[in-house]
């Protein structure tokens, strides 16, 4: 989808990989003009998977994740090692509202020849959003990292998994996206501050490690309050006055979230065991914590005897949060999302038709337009450099031959 709420905003996007492109994708989805600037050989994510042959890396123009993360953007190429390309970038910053970058700290200055402060001084309406692994300073600023390490260091991994086994990392690159969300919000806040308070832009420094830690309040703040650090407790989400647990059913797994007295009553009623509500072992939330094993021993066999969808329906009838844990294929075919028209089919020029997640928000005053596919490498060079900056065809071919674009 593409809304037009931010149609007055222009973004110059120097980012690569996931966190940066996801942040600018959110702005593009809301109508900002996002010009993605890549080196003439393309940013790394173009060559990353998924691909049709399942090999993962090494595809010519784009892997599918690139195709998702860069929808609704315009694409130009510039080899910023060349003086002419740097001039062209600076020309693009004239009139831009936001510059996004997620190079290793210090690299932007080396590439552009200007520090963030110099850039801000030259383009007072512009804000710079820098996303990095650890932030723009600190002793580990330049340390190597990947998703596994980011999750581990940020505290997500330690409390997940079996107590007798190694901690279990969350899947995929979730923390990259969380960092991208903070960056997209930071960009909007910088625009707000510019428009209403400062009159000028500023530098926004977003650390992926800090974004990761920001979601761990149960652990970090909870630990200080209780003095007890969260540990791995297997199928249970945590030890507490509740039963939040992943349970085997006849045909897969279901997730149960039983916290309040009302939810406990619903659970007992659903199991056909209303007498458990007044059972001395389970009468209160605290008792249900103390006697959690006994409770689980009653709930587990019931789930094992039933199908996931039966449990989901019965839970819904009783306002009990209980879900069938879907595979990725089932998410794609989930009736609720189909009814809401959530997934959007995009005709990608390289991959063909793909179904991508739609916009999570719906605005009452808009009818969104269909998503535009991610740009081919340098697809909009002519549009941006030719039509907007007035370079003629001969000049563009010269720049192409010289490897500037």
């Amino acid at each position: 989808m593409r809304y037009n709420s931010l149609s007055d905003i222009r973004v110059i996007d120097l980012t690569h990989h996931i966190a940066g492109p996801y942040a600018t994708r959110m702005l593009a989805e809301m109508g900002a003009e996002v010009i993605k600037v890549e080196p003439p050989w393309g940013e790394g994510a173009r060559r990353r998977g998924p691909t049709r042959d399942g090999t993962g890396d090494a595809c010519a123009d784009r892997g599918a994740l690139f195709a998702f993360l860069n929808t609704n953007k315009l694409g130009v190429t510039l080899d910023l090692r060349r003086a002419r390309a740097r001039e062209m970038l600076l020309a693009m910053l004239e009139g831009a509202d936001l510059l996004f970058e997620n190079f290793a700290p210090g690299t932007l200055q080396k590439l552009v020849g200007l520090s963030p402060n110099d850039i801000l001084a030259r383009f007072p309406r512009l804000s710079i959003v820098s996303i990095s692994n650890f932030g723009q300073d600190g002793p580990d600023r330049d340390a190597p990292i990947n998703d596994l390490v980011l999750f581990a260091r940020g505290g997500w991994t330690y409390p997940v998994g079996e107590p007798t086994r190694e901690p279990l990392t969350p899947p995929g690159s979730l923390a990259q996206y969380v960092g991208g969300l903070f960056a997209a919000i930071g960009a909007m806040q910088a625009l707000y501050a510019r428009n209403f308070v400062l009159g000028c832009g500023q530098h926004v420094d977003v650390s992926l490690l800090e974004a990761t830690v920001a979601t761990m309040i149960y652990e970090t703040v909870g630990f200080q309050y209780s003095g007890v650090a969260r540990v791995r407790v297997g199928k249970r989400y945590a030890v507490g006055p509740f039963l939040i647990v992943t349970l085997a059913c006849r045909d897969g797994y279901a997730g149960l979230h039983c916290v309040t007295d009302k939810q406990f009553e619903s659970l007992c009623e659903m199991m056909g065991r209303p007498e458990l509500v007044s059972d001395e072992r389970f009468r209160t939330a605290l008792l249900r914590m103390v006697n959690n094993d006994a409770l689980l021993a009653i709930v587990e066999p019931f789930f094992l005897e039933h199908d996931r969808m039966f449990l989901y329906r019965e839970g819904r009838k009783r306002k009990l949060p209980l879900v069938p844990i879907p595979s990725i294929a089932e998410v794609l075919e989930w009736e609720q999302l189909k009814a809401r028209g959530y997934f959007e089919t995009v005709r990608d020029p390289v991959l063909g038709e793909i179904r991508i997640p739609g916009a999570p928000l719906r605005l009452s005053s808009h009818r969104p337009e269909p998503t535009r596919p991610a740009p081919l490498l340098g697809e909009h060079n002519r549009l941006i450099f030719g039509e907007r900056f007035g370079l003629d065809g001969a000049e563009l071919s010269r720049l192409r031959q010289a490897g500037v674009i």
Partner: protein, 411 residues
């Protein structure tokens, strides 16, 4: 300087739990005046319950999580089951820029507080509703929380050990913070657009739809290959070694992920395992992936006697992506986070001073304000009703005696 110095934003926050309140908390970090509305009978369930301790210990004021995501807000109670309470809420909404709610679908309508009603009173109002699975659709009646939203987005199904077994729920109820961050982004977008159009709007944000984009890679992998990707556990689909290994001491672990030949050589150097470089089982990246079980055995053996922090430091210096698997106290002691002053001390009545997560986005000119405490139940009833609505003491006393406002929990 605050981001909202000149034009102070006012926010009415009816939400509970984590996702909705996070939106209000992030707006308060910008300097907005955020009025959190609770009911003395139905206070924010994230406070816990009255049965969690003796009344004189104020159990509902001792929730670490409530006290985290309601920082910087004003606390007001209103009985919305009473038309007089609804009337007060309407008067507040008329003065507000933003209204946040995450009730179950249909509740705002029943209270007579739908967007249609509120926007007629205040066309500049931006209202956000955050149903778990959407305001419409055949399953919009399903109750969602962070964990169940996370499951329905496909995250849980992919969280499991590489050698099989059951799926696991993440410990941070991911659906909640991701829903909240998307909500905050949406509100900022609507506020931006309001300056151009002069009008607010209603935002519907289905939390599960906010979480699904995080799984885009797996969704696309399945579409392109026709195969449902299995949980990879701590392993990587292509690279090895990529795992979590036990170090010396009690429950100490290190995460190491090698993605290049240079990193592989550096890892062997740090661990004194140079001899493995010549082992045909590990000679190439493909061979290492093929013989990953044997590789993990060798590495597990080598890490078992190492001190986690020390070996992590040495690996990082050698250019290998590595880090401790931090438990909560270790996260709080992390050198990088400390050097950047990430956690901020906040003093709050009843519980005292603790460290809370600070600002993730660091602004060079208008830093976010993260150091104001969460309100006690009904703490700012009188301040808000007097200063925002101009109520007299007599009016407020009448509301108090009618049980519309109060500071004593009745839940």
């Amino acid at each position: 300087m605050s981001m909202t110095t000149h034009e102070r934003l006012r926010v009415v926050d009816l939400s509970m739990g984590w996702a909705g309140p996070l939106v209000g908390a992030m707006l308060s970090e910008m300097g907005a005046e955020v009025i959190k509305i609770e009911d003395t009978r139905h206070f924010d369930w994230w406070r816990g319950s009255l049965s969690m301790g003796a009344p004189e210990e104020h159990p509902i004021e001792r929730s670490a999580v409530f006290n985290s995501v309601n920082r910087g807000k004003l606390g007001v109670t209103l009985n919305l089951a009473d038309p007089r309470g609804v009337e007060v809420l309407k008067r507040l909404a008329v003065t507000a820029d933003v209204l946040i709610e995450n009730y179950s679908v249909g509740v705002m309508e029943r209270l007579g507080l739908s967007y249609r009603v509120l926007s007629a009173l205040n066309p500049r109002l931006v209202m956000i509703s955050m149903p778990s699975f959407g305001a419409e659709g055949p399953e919009s009646d399903a109750r969602g929380y962070g964990n169940t939203v996370e499951a329905m987005a496909g995250v849980t199904g992919l969280t499991g050990y590489h050698d099989g077994g059951q799926p696991y729920t993440l410990s941070n109820a991911l659906g909640d913070p991701v829903g909240g961050l998307n909500g905050m982004f949406a509100v900022m977008v609507a506020l931006h657009e309001r300056e151009r159009t002069g009008r607010g709007q209603w935002i519907e944000l289905a939390q599960v739809e906010a979480a699904i984009p995080l799984m885009a890679e797996a969704l696309l992998d399945y579409q392109l290959t026709g195969k449902i990707p299995p949980p990879h556990g701590n392993r990587h689909p292509r690279h090895a070694p990529h795992g979590i290994y036990r170090c010396a001491g009690e429950d100490n672990w290190i995460a190491v992920g090698v993605e290049s030949e240079a990193q592989w050589r550096a890892l062997l150097g740090v661990l004194g395992l140079e001899r493995l470089a010549a082992d045909p089982r590990f000679a190439t990246a493909e061979a290492r992936k093929r013989n990953e079980d044997a590789l993990d055995d060798a590495l597990s053996h080598a890490f078992a006697s190492r001190e986690t922090e020390e070996v992590a430091r040495r690996l990082i210096r050698a250019g290998v992506p590595a880090g401790q698997v931090n438990s909560a106290p270790a996260v709080m002691a992390d050198e990088q986070l400390q050097a950047r002053g990430y956690f901020v001390p906040v003093e709050r009545a009843i519980v005292g001073t603790h460290l809370y997560p600070g600002a993730v986005a660091r602004f060079s000119q208008t830093p976010l304000e993260t150091d104001r405490p969460a309100p006690l139940l009904g703490e700012h009833n009188r301040v808000v009703l007097r200063e925002v609505l101009g109520m007299s003491d007599a009016e407020m006393e009448a509301l108090e005696s009618a049980g519309i406002i109060g500071t004593r929990p009745l839940g």
